[in-house]
Amino acid sequence: MKSATIVVTDPTLRDGSHACSHQITIEQIQKYATAAEAAKVDYLEVGHGNGLGASSLQVGLSLVPEREMLRTARSCLNKTRLSVHVMPGFATIKREIAGAIDLGVDLFRVGAHCTEADLTQRHLSYVRNVGKEAWGILMMIHMASKDVLLEEAKKMQSYGAQGIVLMDSAGASFPSDVTEKIGALARGLDVPVGFHAHNNLGLSIANSIAALEAGARIVDGTARGFGAGAGNAPLELLVAAMHRLGYKFNADLYKILDSGELAAELFAENLPISNAVTIVSGLAGVFSGFAKPVIRAAKQMHVDPRDIFFELGKRKVVGGQEDIILEVASELARKNSSKNS
């Protein structure tokens, strides 16, 4: 099992977009991408937190237009391949995917909520038909059983996905959940399986290790965990753990540690931390990227952000549904005011 080389995907410049309200700068891209190339990361993922075409009022406007982000990253990378996240419903083939292909993106990770894989059929097929690499992503995996996840993953495989990554977008999973789900996919699929952790319950590294032990051959990590909510599995810790456990991987340990130090400087203002809001987000099983919009709405409408999260969790909202935050916050504000009157 440890004979396979583990592929390391680094979405620091994509998931990290959530951490800084999508205000990643050209300079940050240049500096970090250069360091990632030097550290021999297999794939570097760049773009808005919700992927291609997601710069919006719904999720947040990017500081730098998508084309420039990708162009900048592309120019800094050589051996490290450039990856983008794609969510049908936000991104379209004609407008976003075709453009990204022209800009030299190597890998398209096309994602859907964990029960909606069939939304990715055309996008995955399109990418494969033009000769680029395509993986399928299942998001919010705590909301589906291993049987459902396997069935959805198989659909993506049939559409041409060359890898399937399970994203614990809410950071709500425990190691035993990950072992069960990754294990089911590792046994049931032909293509390699990967895991993308979030740290809302402090389990990002433990979960990532469980995934590797259960047969995952792809793992996501971000520098200093720079990502949504309480962040992802910190890449430095992930690589250190793989190093200690005897996994084979291409990344250079020292250079990964260096890029971690660089990230601490570059993203100093928005390094993810664990706090009341991110913990409740994980408990409520809500998309990690909701943290900042929830805090903002809570402030404006004078309600407790934790109440907003638990209510969102009850309504089982999925990633991309940030507008519901407004409804929930307003309703809570109304309830509070009628209680007080």
Binding site: S56, L57, Q58, P88, G89, F90, T92, I93, K94, H113, T115, E116, D118, L119, Q121, R122, M143, P293, R296, A297, Q300, R315, K316, V317, V318, G320, Q321, D323, I324, L326, E327, S330
Partner: protein
């Protein structure tokens, strides 16, 4: 009792069957033909039980019964409508297109019903379009300097069948085009979320706008007024968040609960298109019959 005009429905799937139930309830419309390809489909059998003339000859049945008809609803597929549109134009029959073909004039009753009465082919845009275009229009009326409009819809996963899913990109494009067209705002974006929660969620649409100096009061006025207009033909349409400014954007939220004529109530997204199509047909009926501002039960007065 107003004289009814005679309609045909081509396409006997769930949408066509739900449309049939609405036609049967309408004081302005009479269904003279329910045509598809499969006499044993649930819709066909239901129509037959209800005494509605059915045919498995699809558009050919319309051709054969041209003299009996005043307008045709097309609930087949985009591909089929391309063929049907030509035939219906040659027959001189108003085509109300519920497919994504978008050949004719985009029709959003609360905004441009009057204009559509002159067209020979109108299309009902998309579910997100029907829900958000009136709101976008109202906001644009209140804020001429509007820079950008965005609409996000959430629908129940179960209300989106394989056909909807495979055409997701087209749906987004159509909805964006409609927003731009009706609000005169150059830049727009449409987003769609599918939520698998059980019990099924109702359709919910949020319209965001980027406006340098938004006039909140006027926006509330205009949006409030147009919501009332929509409710005349979409009874389950409800504003759940009135225009507000949050994080530098203007936001409005509506929810659409389906009537439940044939489609489940949670499929408000499918219901709103049917309701809009009926509103268009009833307005056309009223014009034809020359009754002016008659008080149709479900009719939306232009």
């Amino acid at each position: 009792m107003p004289t009814k005009i005679k309609v045909a429905i081509v396409g006997t799937g769930n949408i066509g069957t739900d449309l049939l139930m609405k036609v049967l309830r309408s004081p302005w419309l009479e269904c003279r033909l329910f045509a598809g390809r499969n006499l044993s489909s649930p819709g066909m059998m239901k129509a037959d039980h209800l005494g509605v003339p059915v045919s498995s000859k699809s558009i050919q049945a319309v051709v054969e019964r041209r003299s009996e008809l005043d307008l045709v609803f097309d609930a087949t597929s985009a591909e089929d409508h391309v063929k049907h549109a030509r035939i219906l134009r040659d027959l001189g029959l108003l085509a109300i297109d519920l497919t994504p073909a978008k050949i004719g004039k985009m029709c959003v009753p609360a905004v441009n019903l009057e204009e559509c009465l002159q067209a020979e082919n109108v299309n009902m845009v998309s579910c997100g379009g029907q829900a958000s275009v009136p709101i976008a229009f109202a906001i644009a009326q209140a804020n001429p300097e509007i820079e950008y409009i965005e609409t996000v819809s959430s629908i129940a996963s179960r209300s989106a069948g394989p056909a909807t899913r495979i055409n997701l990109d087209e749906y987004l494009g159509t909805t964006e085009e409609a927003i731009q067209h009706f609000s005169n705002c150059r830049i727009s974006k449409a987003i769609l979320n599918l939520n698998p929660a059980q019990p099924c969620v109702h359709m919910q649409t949020t319209v965001f706008a980027k406006i340098a100096r938004p006039n909140l009061e006027k926006s509330r006025e205009q949006v409030g007024a147009i919501v009332k207009d929509i409710q005349k033909y979409v009874p389950g349409y409800q504003m759940i968040l009135e225009p507000m400014i949050e994080n530098g954007r203007l936001a409005v939220m509506v929810r659409v609960e389906g009537v439940g004529d044939y489609l489940p109530k949670y499929a408000g997204n499918l219901d709103i298109i049917n309701c809009a199509a009926i509103a268009m047909a009833e307005a056309y009926a009223q014009k034809r019959v020359g009754n002016g501002k008659a008080e149709a039960k479900n009719g939306f007065t232009p």
